[in-house]
Symmetry: C2
Subunit: 383 residues, 2 copies
């Protein structure tokens, strides 16, 4: 661990549990703001561990070593919501500042708890049931017929831990408890991303449209097209209210189904910088990564305003083509205004290894350029 006494006077120190690409991108903002940044990683080759000067290798289940790490920093924040709740609780009991707090994070880490809490608070959601056993599951299925979804309450992401249920017999393979939800007929998916600081200042990024393929987000369009100001404002207000109700500190992403009839239903919550706001690195005055750090350090938040009319983000999803870097030659030569962000990850089929941002005022052009670049880098096209 680096010697704190050698840092410039007054330098705040943030510790991050988990060392994926979100921690890596927070780190870019930390360097720029002169914030000292320590990462607790599982492996030195993880995305953020590769680049952070100050890393501690360990296991997030090992409470003692996490506690020792946490005592070396001013505040703990998270790269992902899969940090064991016992670990987080133990930090809080030992007087460590943890943002978002374990009391908040549980609603992002456990979809069953999230549904229960948001139902209590009367937020609009798809019909759902946290089924304890097969009989309850059968009853729910009968009610909705062939249109239900089963979700593992914990541990799922990027389409993992989510199953479409088409026949009653498929219910038999589920592990209980399981979250069952009606398969909502939606016209598109939206995301409302807000950032809330420890003393309750909050900012809201424009509501965006997220485009998914096989449960993985492939493209984000900011702002969402043809979303009238009233509904956009309602989505932002809802996200801000949820952040306040659940006492979230840092980024909160509220993923929404747009049912087309004017109703927006809460799909999922994330309490950390979120893929649906990666465009903010190049498309807004203050990125979600910088605002997340400011929020957990109780620094005033930066403007979420866009710097151009539109921003488009495309995820680079690994395919057969292992050499991402060769693709850079072509993509950068073809499009000198592209912003390419790579995570230092080995390419694997279906894995997010980077993203591409483009900003401007011609949305069609931005979508075309971003789509071309991610397809070329993934190797699905070769010209």
């Amino acid at each position: 661990m680096q010697d704190r006494t050698k840092l410039p006077f007054g330098t705040p120190v943030v510790g991050v549990l988990g060392a994926g690409q979100l921690a890596r991108m927070m780190y870019e903002s930390a360097i720029s703001l002169g914030i000292a940044f320590r990462v607790f990683a599982n492996d030195e080759n993880e995305s953020a561990a590769q680049v952070c000067a100050d890393k501690t290798l360990g296991n997030l289940q090992d409470i003692e070593s996490v506690l020792k790490f946490a005592r070396s920093v001013d505040v703990i924040t998270l790269d992902h919501e899969l940090v064991p709740s016992e670990t987080l609780e133990s930090l809080v009991q030992n007087g460590i500042k943890v943002f978002p707090s374990p009391a908040a994070v549980q609603y992002a880490a456990n979809k069953g708890l999230m549904r229960q809490e948001l139902a209590k608070l009367e937020y609009p959601m798809p019909k759902w049931l946290l089924a304890e056993n097969l009989e309850q599951a059968r009853n729910f299925f009968t009610k909705f017929g062939s249109k239900i979804i089963a979700k593992s309450p914990t541990g799922g992401y990027d389409g993992r831990g989510v199953w479409g249920i088409n026949t009653e017999s498929e219910l038999e393979s589920l592990i209980f408890p399981v979250l069952l939800e009606e398969k909502v007929k939606f016209v598109r998916e939206l995301s409302a991303v807000v950032v809330r600081s420890t003393h309750n200042q909050a900012v809201s990024y424009p509501v965006v449209e997220t485009i998914q393929s096989n449960g993985i987000c492939t493209q984000v369009i900011a702002p969402a097209l043809d979303l009238d100001a009233e509904r956009a404002g309602a989505a932002q207000a809802m996200a801000l209210r949820i952040a306040d109700d659940l006492d979230v500190v840092g980024v909160l992403a509220v993923e929404l189904f747009d049912t087309g009839s004017g109703e927006l239903l809460v799909n999922e919550l994330a309490m950390r910088p979120h893929n649906s706001a990666h465009w903010t690195q190049d498309g807004s005055v203050t990125s979600q990564f910088e605002n997340h750090l400011r929020a957990v350090l109780d620094l005033p938040l930066g403007s979420p305003e866009m710097v151009s009319q539109f921003a488009v983000m495309g995820n680079i999803i690994g395919g057969q083509h292992e050499d991402l870097h060769r693709g850079l030659l072509h993509c950068l030569a073809r499009d000198p205004k592209l912003h390419i962000h790579l995570y230092g990850k080995e390419v694997r089929e279906g894995r997010k290894v980077g993203h591409v941002n483009a900003i401007g005022d011609n949305l069609e052009d931005l979508i075309f350029r971003v789509t071309h670049a991610v397809d070329f880098l993934a190797g699905t096209i070769d010209e």
Copy 2:
């Protein structure tokens, strides 16, 4: 040193000699582009050494250890021009790619050589003489009377190694050889920053005005006001020509005197990311730091186009006030659109410890906000 074989397939590795704030800001771009980045530092508390995961501590005079470092990377570039020429030459003799090359860097590292070479190439410059002895100096002084400047050919920066000579007797304290120059009557100083890649692609940022105080740049205005397109184009063309003539790879900054009569005279050259283009981090599509890395790796260069009508950069110069971070609370609260960049340096009187960028279309407002922030952070005002 990190194990190269664990990097994703095809990842290029850049090595930087020197670990100041320029290397630190290059590192932010390297992280984002997925480029592996190694720094050769003198001390682990240097600006870039603090944040880089992969650092080698050593002495730039120690050719063997620099060579060992250089053999671990694909290309060597520089944080500053004070790397000993013997070290750079030795790397090239050992087959290492060094950009900018020692043959180019000598003209940035030695102001006497720069004047000789640019004179040969007929670039417009102040009258100058590389005086070998007191007699030559006296002759030059007699010619210009009370209006000459003496410069140490090597080692000077931020006003150090530069002396105004007002009386003939002051010449006696100079160490020879010394570069003597007429004190040009200029209306303002400009800077033309270009980036040139190994295969001779080049981009040019808009010409900016630089404002100095006691020989240190305090503010940069992009683009320079009231500079007609023809003269701006001429300055850019001159910088591009110099880059080509001197075979510079990476950033070249050409500092210019605007004599007001239409003539632009070359003041100094820098061959690395330059203070006069720090505004590009927030004010242009591709920052000088990213383009420098792309240039030395022979990747296609990114667009230097501005993302707003104006950008203003203010340097935070250390004063009596040691706690930079407390000032952040006030500055960020007051101005949510400010971009603050800190270098992780302990405050010392007269030392550049960070800078502030603001972009927008109201120049007067940008100057006011940037000036306020740097003054507040430096502690010269307290509200």
